[in-house]
């Protein structure tokens, strides 16, 4: 069965600085999709970025980028130029072949002014 591990329960970053959130996963599948979701205090699940496993190029969305290391089964999220609005819970997620998400336990990101 697939698993997703986020080893950082909480991270802090100064405004305008860069922070990296870690995620590792385990799977026997060769083709799959990985996602990062942001959950602000409203608790809505907001898609931040996605990565297709068969693509070697790391995904980027404006200030958000990933470092996808398929062999190491690592999928970290880098947030550049951090803003106060980035403060939230961030969940790493693996989409299974039956289109079910396996979520990590989340990393709470604090942005310091």
């Amino acid at each position: 069965a697939q698993t997703v591990t986020q080893s950082q329960p909480e991270m802090s970053v100064q405004e305008a600085e860069t922070v990296t959130l870690s995620c590792t996963y385990d799977t026997s599948e060769s083709d799959y999709y990985l996602f990062w979701y942001k959950q602000p205090p409203s608790r809505q699940m907001i898609l931040v970025i996605r990565q297709e496993a068969y693509k070697q190029q790391n995904a980027t969305e404006n200030r958000f980028s990933v470092n996808f290391q398929k062999a190491a089964k690592s999928f970290s999220l880098k947030i550049s130029d951090s803003q106060l609005g980035d403060a939230a819970m961030y969940f790493c997620a693996y989409l299974t072949g039956t289109y079910k998400y396996i979520f990590g336990t989340g990393t709470r990101l604090k942005v310091l002014a």
Binding site: L47, F103, G104
Partner: protein, 115 residues
């Protein structure tokens, strides 16, 4: 941008009562899901639904839970006899046909409080 709509946003119920959580998925989506998040914990899969039947369900989704698509637009989650431990945020999601590369669209959730 199309949205998944969930109602109510917050529901308080007495232990042992039945509750129905309602969701209106995006109109052209064919796959529907419920997830649960107990406060401070991770989001967990409950059930997936396609073509008017359950595709997959988790161990959490026991006999007290049921899902239904009573008409062409609504997708509901019923909890027959609520327990204190059912208190959680419940998210509905939908997905269009095809690959999962774009993931789902989640609703904004229903916070269920069982007292």
């Amino acid at each position: 941008e199309p949205e998944v709509t969930q109602t109510p946003s917050h529901q308080v119920t007495q232990m042992g009562q039945e509750v129905i959580l309602r969701c209106v998925p995006i109109s052209n989506h064919l796959y529907f899901y419920w997830y649960r998040q107990i406060l401070g914990q991770k989001v967990e899969f409950l059930v997936s639904f396609y073509n008017n039947e359950i595709s997959e369900k988790s161990e959490i989704f026991d006999d007290q839970f049921s899902v239904e698509r009573p008409d062409g637009s609504n997708f509901t989650l019923k909890i027959r006899s609520t327990k204190l431990e059912d208190s959680a945020m419940y998210f509905c999601a939908s997905k269009e046909a095809g690959t999962g590369k774009y993931g789902y669209t989640f609703g904004s959730g229903t916070r269920l409080t069982v007292v």
